[in-house]
C-alpha cells in the first residue's frame, strides 16, 4: 500500500509536470505567433511584459487556447471566457465562502488543537513498527 500511494503521488506529479511542460511550449508558440492578434495592446509591448505574463500562460494555457481559437479569423477583441457573472452573484459567493469559513475554521482549529499528539523527545521514536500502515 505504501508503494501504491507513492506511485499515485508520482503519477500526479508527472501529470502536473506534463501540464506545465505543455504550457511552456504553448507560451512560446502563443507569444511568437498569436499574442499580437489576440490582444492589439500587446503588439508593441516589451519583453518585460511578455516575461511577466508567461507564468499565467503556463497556468491557464487551455483557457487561452479556447480564447485564441474563438478570436482567430477576426480582429483582436477582448471577449469573456465563460458567461458573465453579476457583481451581486460574486458578492453572494463571498458571503457563502465566509459563512463556510466561519464554521470550518474554528471547528478545524479546535479539533487540531484537541487532537494534538505528544511531541516525541529528540532521539526517540515511540512507535511500534507493526502498527505502520
Amino acid at each position: 500500500m505504501d508503494d501504491s500511494v507513492n506511485a499515485a503521488i508520482a503519477v500526479g506529479l508527472l501529470v502536473t509536470g506534463a501540464y506545465a511542460g505543455l504550457g511552456l511550449v504553448f507560451a512560446a508558440v502563443f507569444q511568437a505567433m498569436g499574442l499580437k492578434r489576440f490582444d492589439a495592446a500587446a503588439a508593441s509591448a516589451g519583453w518585460g511584459f511578455r516575461l511577466l505574463i508567461t507564468p499565467g500562460i503556463v497556468a491557464l494555457w487551455p483557457v487561452l487556447l479556447v480564447l485564441w481559437v474563438k478570436r482567430s479569423g477576426s480582429a483582436a477583441e477582448p471577449s469573456q471566457f465563460g458567461s458573465r457573472i453579476s457583481q451581486r452573484t460574486l458578492r453572494a459567493w463571498h458571503r457563502v465562502a465566509w459563512f463556510a469559513l466561519l464554521v470550518l475554521v474554528p471547528v478545524g482549529l479546535g479539533l487540531a488543537l484537541a487532537e494534538r499528539l505528544p511531541v516525541p523527545e529528540p532521539g526517540t521514536i515511540p512507535w511500534d513498527p507493526s502498527t505502520s500502515r
Binding site: L13, S44, L51, A97, W98, V105, L109
Partner: protein, 355 residues
C-alpha cells in the same frame, strides 16, 4: 488613443506603495532573524528563513484580506486597494521561498524523491497512536501548503491587467475568489503543522485573532453590501435606473442623465435632489444647462421658470414639465424612468449617503 501594455505601470503612488512594503518586509525578516537567533541560538539559518518567510507571508495575507472589506466600509482605505496586487505578488514570493526551503530542509536528504516525500510524509511513524489509529493530527499538512501555494501562484501570475482584459472581469474575479480557499488551506497547514509542535498558547490565540479580525471585517462589509443590494433590487423593481454620483451635481445646477431612454435633469436645490424633464415647454431648450435662480429652474434659452419640486411654472404661469422620482443609494442617484403625473409635488431627496 492607443493602449499598450507595460510590465508595470509605475507611477509615484505605486513606487511609494511597493517600496514601503518591501522595506517593511526586509525590516521584519532582519528583526525576526535577530530575535530568533538571540532566543534560540541553535536554530540554523535555514530554519530562520523557513519560519520568518512563513510568518511574514501569513501576516501579509491577513492584511491583504482586510483591505477589501475595509475599503467597502470606509472609502479612505481605497488607496490600499489600488495596488493590492503588488502585496499579493510579494506574499506569493515569500510563500514560495518558505516552500522551497522547507522542501529542501525536510525532504531533500532522504531516499525518497523530495517532491513525492512532501505528499507522503504524513506517514511518518511518530504520528501514529499506540493502537495504530488515525487522528486528525495525522492529516497531511504539507500538501495543504502546496495547494495554497498553487492558488497563490495562479493569482500572482494573472494579476496583470492583460488577464483582467482578456479573461473578462467575471472569470478573473471568480479565479481570484480562490484566495478564500487558499486561506482555509493555509490555516489548515498552520493548525496541523506548527501548532502541533509549538505548545505555547500564544500561537493558536494569534491564529484565531487573525481569523477573527478578517472574518469580522468581511461580515461587517457583507452586511453593509447586503443592505445596499436589497435597496438596489427594490429600486430596480420600482423602475428606477442608476445614473450619476450625487457629488457631481453642484448647488443650483443639474446633471443631465438618461432614464428610460429620455434625458432627465437632476437638480440640486438646497441640498435636496429633484429630477425634471430636460426639455423646456417653451421651445424645447435644454433645461439641464440652466440654473436655479430664486428657487426656480431657469431655462438658458429664454428664461422660462419651473419649480423643481413639482415642475410647475410659478403663478400666474401655467406651464408644467414632467418630474421624476429620485432615490439616493450609497451616493449614487437613481431616477425613475416613468415620470410622475403632472404637478405631483415632491420634496426631493436629501443628499446624504445611505450607510
Amino acid at each position: 488613443m492607443s493602449l499598450s501594455y507595460r510590465a508595470v505601470d509605475w507611477n509615484r503612488q505605486k513606487k511609494i506603495y511597493s517600496l514601503t512594503a518591501t522595506g517593511l518586509i526586509v525590516l521584519f525578516m532582519v528583526l525576526y532573524g535577530a530575535v530568533t537567533l538571540l532566543v534560540s541560538p541553535d536554530f540554523t539559518l535555514e530554519t530562520v528563513i523557513i519560519r520568518g518567510t512563513s510568518l511574514a507571508a501569513l501576516l501579509i495575507l491577513h492584511f491583504i484580506l482586510c483591505i477589501g472589506p475595509l475599503a467597502r466600509l470606509d472609502r479612505r482605505f481605497l488607496p490600499l486597494l489600488y495596488n493590492r496586487r503588488h502585496l499579493g505578488v510579494m506574499m506569493f514570493l515569500l510563500a514560495l521561498i518558505h516552500g522551497v526551503f522547507a522542501a529542501i530542509q525536510f525532504h531533500a536528504l532522504g531516499n525518497e524523491n523530495p517532491l513525492v516525500s512532501v505528499f507522503s510524509s504524513y506517514r511518518m511513524d511518530y504520528r501514529l497512536t499506540a493502537d495504530g489509529s488515525l487522528r486528525i493530527a495525522h492529516f497531511p499538512f504539507e500538501p495543504l501548503g502546496v495547494g495554497a501555494l498553487l492558488i497563490f501562484f495562479v493569482m500572482a501570475a494573472t494579476s496583470h491587467d492583460f488577464w483582467l482584459r482578456n479573461l473578462g472581469a467575471s472569470f478573473w474575479k471568480t479565479l481570484h475568489l480562490g484566495v478564500y480557499v487558499a486561506y482555509a488551506l493555509v490555516l489548515g497547514h498552520v493548525a496541523l503543522g506548527v501548532l502541533q509542535t509549538e505548545r505555547s498558547a500564544l500561537f493558536p490565540i494569534l491564529v484565531l485573532a487573525g481569523f477573527t479580525l478578517v472574518a469580522g471585517l468581511h461580515v461587517a462589509a457583507g452586511w453593509k453590501e447586503r443592505r445596499l443590494d436589497t435597496s438596489r433590487a427594490a429600486a430596480e423593481r420600482d423602475g428606477f435606473e442608476e445614473t450619476c454620483l450625487a457629488s457631481e451635481i453642484a448647488e443650483g445646477r443639474a446633471a443631465v442623465v438618461l432614464a428610460g431612454g429620455v434625458r432627465v435633469a437632476v437638480w440640486r436645490h438646497k441640498d435636496r435632489l429633484h429630477a425634471t424633464s430636460n426639455t423646456c415647454r417653451h421651445q424645447g431648450g435644454p433645461l439641464g444647462e440652466g440654473r436655479i435662480i430664486d428657487g426656480c429652474i431657469t431655462c438658458p434659452w429664454h428664461g422660462w421658470n419651473y419649480q423643481p419640486e413639482d415642475g410647475c411654472s410659478p403663478p400666474p404661469f401655467k406651464e408644467v414639465v414632467e418630474t421624476h422620482a429620485v432615490r439616493l443609494l450609497n451616493g449614487r442617484v437613481w431616477v425613475q424612468a416613468k415620470p410622475n403625473p403632472f404637478e405631483t409635488r415632491s420634496p426631493g431627496v436629501a443628499d446624504e449617503v445611505l450607510k
